[in-house]
Symmetry: C2
Subunit: 133 residues, 2 copies
Amino acid sequence: MSESVYKTSKHRTALLEILRTTKTHPTAAWLYERLKERFPDLSQGTVYRNLSILAELGLVRVLRSGKTFDRFDADVTPHDHMVCERCGRVDDAGISATPAGEQEAARATGYLVTSRRLDYYGICPDCQRSGDR
Amino acid sequence: MSESVYKTSKHRTALLEILRTTKTHPTAAWLYERLKERFPDLSQGTVYRNLSILAELGLVRVLRSGKTFDRFDADVTPHDHMVCERCGRVDDAGISATPAGEQEAARATGYLVTSRRLDYYGICPDCQRSGDR
DNA sequence: TTAATTGCAAACGGTTTGCCACGTT
DNA sequence: AACGTGGCAAACCGTTTGCAATTAA
């Protein structure tokens, strides 16, 4: 996990491919199921290992969401997220709004700010429709 | 955990008190240690149970941070956070910046936005000082 | 050949939960 | 008496890791 020179691997390549053609910010479990279709004797460890390598390479973003499990995003350009508090779904919120307060916050706290994450929480259209509760 | 009418409890009261007089956004483990000083035969379950009750009552905010464990905040007014990527420390970022993009994002995605969380990531002053790596 | 990759299964670690005794109302 | 609360320990569950076999370079 230190100075490795990563070799290419079918699994990792396929994993990234799936991630890039998926807009739903999948969980590791979902990716595992999806990838297992192509590699029947795939193990969870492989998925987790490769996700962390992809994240290390900056090819994937880890969204540690409000729920207990992580979600992953192959779109590493800065953008915000909408998190549904009912069903846990995560959508893109479009272009990231004002980094306005960033400099101010950095100055006030003395932090060296390298990135930021903005998540909106609410109810997704589907859950609004299927009303109740 | 549904329609309970909570009774007062020394443990819960003390927990909230500690939380309110602490600016460091403690972890459950830290709170457990702290509270154990006052209640020597305290168990972890009690801390977790009470934290979740306090959260349910809106008296505490759960900051599911970039790290693997949660942090808790008794300041439930809207404000953002600075997360140190080196040591995991979490500070307040001061007054929350304008929710400028919020309406736009809500309109674009169809979400009913109820709240948002803005976290800045970077290096805290201490870690900047103790340089290296 | 050499080091990265994988499957497997056990381990990890923070959090949750079932059980029963105790405390509050 | 009725029911929330707490201690204890086991269970949970997403994730990590050690190991031996496999595979890419």
